[in-house]
């Protein structure tokens, strides 16, 4: 069982202008003192089409972590707009928060992000070249997608307890086009679905 349980992630400063930094207030509980730091990452999915456009916004070490309940705010700068395909700037994409221990990812939290113009005029007639100063980022905070992975928490045991769960990549939050389950395909999500937050 995981020694670290993520109890809550609060999305701060949301919705906010596109260029504002991301802020996540993360609360987690640790069962026993961790000898090593946790590593948290925020990954912005630039385009649903390819992982190529994924940007690691920042990675941060968190520690020391004694047994108990802890919280911290993870702030990371907004994505580099130069790396985002112009066609994908507006619309729905995904931001991921991952946590690894001893180089093994044990949790991946995904949020849908809707980037849209606040100005109705621009909404009707979006410019060909996205105007990031006018874009608003809205994270669908109420619906995180959490994937947990079984990892080896002990340093001594080299062998994984459950090898089939080791590599999270295939199970990782899937690109929006192939998002499984209940959520509607992101591309077809009605525009106002974000407004009802």
């Amino acid at each position: 069982m995981a020694k670290v349980q993520v109890l809550n992630v609060a999305v701060l400063d949301n919705p906010s202008p596109f260029r504002n930094p991301f802020q996540f207030e993360i609360t987690f509980e640790c069962m026993e003192d961790l000898p090593e730091d946790l590593e948290w990452k925020i990954i912005y999915v630039g385009s649903a089409e390819s992982e190529e456009y994924d940007q690691v916004l920042d990675s941060v070490l968190v520690g020391p972590v004694p047994a108990g309940r802890h919280m911290f705010v993870f702030q990371a700068d907004a994505p580099n707009t130069g790396l985002i395909p112009e066609s994908d700037a507006v619309g729905v994409t995904v931001v991921l928060i991952t946590c690894t221990y001893r180089g093994q990812e044990f949790i991946r939290i995904g949020y849908y992000v809707n980037n849209e113009y606040t100005d109705p005029e621009l909404r009707e007639n979006p410019p060909v070249k996205p105007d990031y100063t006018q874009l608003q980022r809205n994270i669908l905070a109420s619906n995180p997608r959490v994937t947990r992975f079984h990892i080896n928490w002990e340093a001594t045991m080299e062998k994984m307890e459950d090898s089939e769960n080791v590599d999270p990549a295939p199970n990782a939050m899937l690109p929006p086009t192939s998002m499984p389950g209940k959520a509607p395909p992101l591309g077809l999500m009605p525009d106002n679905s974000m407004d009802c937050l």
Binding site: M1, Q5, Q23, T27, H70, V146
Partner: protein
Amino acid sequence: MKLLKPSWVNHNGKPIFSVDIHPDGTKFATGGQGEDSGKVVIWNMAPVLREEDERNENIPKLLCQMDNHLACVNCVRWSNNGLYLASGGDDKLVMVWKRAAFIGPSTVFGSSSKLANVEQWRCVMILRNHTGDVMDVAWSPHDVWLASCSVDNTIVIWNARKFPEIVMTLKGHTGLVKGLTWDPVGKYIASQADDRSLKVWRTMDWQLETNITKPFSECGGTTHVLRLSWSPDGQYLVSAHAMNNSGPTAQIIERDGWKTNMDFVGHRKAVTVVKFNPKIFKKKQKNGSTPKPSCPYCCCAVGSKDRSLSVWLTSLKRPLVVIHDLFDKSIMDITWTLNGLGLLVCSMDGTVAFLDFSQDELGDPLNEEEKNAIHQNIYGKSLAITMESQLSSTIIENPEMLKYQQERQGNQNPNEAQGIGPENQTPKLTNVLNGESLEDIRKNLLKKQVETRTADGRRRITPLCIAQLDTAGTAAVNSIGMKSNLLLTSASKIEPMKALDSRFTERSKAMPGVTSVPLTIGITPLDRVKDSSSVKEPKGKDETSSDSEDKIMVKSIAKRKGEMEGAEVVEKRKKGRPRKDAKTMPFPQVTFLLSKDPSRLTTPIAVLKLPTPSIQKSFSTQVSTDGVTYLEVENEVSVVSGSRLSQLKWSREGREWDVLLPSRIIIAAGSSNVVAVACEDRTLSVFTACGRRLIPSIILPVPMSALHCSGHFVMALTASAMLSVWDVQKQTALVKNESLNPILSGTDATVSQSFLTQQGVAVVSLSNGKTYCFNSSLETWNLIADKQDSLVQCTDFRNCVSAQDALGSMGPLALTQGRNLSAGRLASRLSSTPHHLQQGMTLAFLEKQLSSALILLSASEYRHWLLIYARFLVNEGEAVREGQCHCSQG
């Protein structure tokens, strides 16, 4: 009886494998499959019990859910004191949960349900040892141990006082172990496995007490679980899936001699779970009728793969009630409320059902004192104190006490109390850190949190600790003001239970046509409140429905009788079934004795016959503790020119040998040096541990009842109650055909246990609690232990027990006397015996122990008792005997 299916108790349609009601009756836990993990849920009991609470939206239904198990949870069990919850799952783990008092409500992050956890249960311990799915977990009486069993064929006994310490791993099953139950007396633990055996293990030395295979020989490993149960009086053990005449049964095993003469029959498919009601009942005294003293009885619920549930009273031949079609899939677990009147059942179909009985239906539950008096009567001691002295600290015995303590703590800390109780529903985090509320902290967290750069320039955040985990709280609390239910003596005399006596269906004794059908008689689906159950039925209707139920049963039985001619065919077929049972072939040695051994008939000893084990097709036993050694017997393995050969196979850590014998093998026993087998043709063969025959077959006058090996010694107890002990290395007889007549005459006791010490001293325990050994130099039977001995109850030598021998000594004496000794120490505290009298009794007792250890040639125990004796003499200033002590020590 009222029946309710609370539809809100579910795992979103996923199977529920286990259910257990908290000992204080306010909540219950379910375990099963979650979305992509195992799931444990704690539910509020009140909405199940009361309709108004179910409707009241301010009363939470779900108290806490835990998704920490990585795979399906197969079993959840509350500790007897209610402080802990243990869960075992397919992720090979056992988790122990404890309520975290001061952490506010929270949700499971990322789960689809938005329900807040009202109570916080935190995993305080993960027990890793099993290499396969954990199928069942069980807390021992008084929560001294936690046992878990697994598909890795083992049972692990964890020290519940010092998790994750392992006390012992019980190996011996050769199939998936799917059920566990502790003897309420604390002497045994029983396990049932897919290897078609039920094994009973002693808690004294963790060795196998008995291996029961006969009722399971026809069983296939088709059930997910095999949850067996021990009756609250300790007298009966009831197995899950067993077979009798090709019909599925729940086998009743008597504690006395592990006899398997009775079973619960009628389920159409394998029995998955049996659960005894924790209460012992007596007949309800009706107003107006003259109060007649009636025998107390037990109540047992049986659940099956056939989706039906039957509830039996041991005072009735037929089930009290049978409910068909309660679920869409197999029943997986059953739990009773502590008051014995309520019952929760869960099923693979993901639903639970609650049955509510009235005292008119079940009877008057005995109170704890009466129950203790029964135990006192049967075992010579009250269970309430059995283990107590063994524990370093006193533990809370009952939920009421626990509640009292919680209330007290709650008063001391109002912040804490706020989190409890239904009125506080708004999920507010009331944790206070240095006078700052969590809200304040959150506002400034980004500014206040410490962020540094590591040597390689990376950001490093020191998280803010908002709550410490209360791991210190696991220490046991002193039981202040615990009312003494530690009664050793009780004024009211209660007759020992005679329940189950020739009741139910003794194996094929009753008419087959009736025997196998009581449950299959379809009681038409009664109150099927399924799904629509958010509203309970009005009470009046319930009563009538329970009446009509009985009528239906009677009617259908009558109808069945009318069809008896039709049952003829079935009956004939049954006669031809291969497995015979205890009743149809009662002890063949009786006839044998008469016909072939007339010389024996002249003596009255023939009366003293002991049971002989029946012949099994195959069985295996574990022998010798150093290096796991197995003896496997397979009878009639091959037929060579008309003669049937039987095979004895010996294996130790990969090495093995086998030997063929011309006759079927009845008993096999072995030590690290020798192996002995008794055959059907009354021969006894002895082999070395390497498989070489030591002596030609010994011809016995009568069949063998019990056979033991220890070192180079072989002990044989025959059906005519004659004892022989041989030293096969020196080829001499230590005990030659000595009769058990002196110890058996004048009592109706039977031999309950016999064994051979390492030094070749034969020890025989009787069902009346007395244990004897035979001294070959004096040629006498010597009483070495007596459970009724009043000396034991009144001795007090705890001042003389040093820390290192506080645990007692291991050896034959301790094995026979059990924990009575420690019970005595507590007894002395309660009794008001004058000091000089107690001193005298203690002296007498210690001297008895010394001489017993001496006659058993048990060196370590002699030393143990001699040290205590010497210390006692010094403490009490007994100069004269002290001198004697020096002499004997010299």
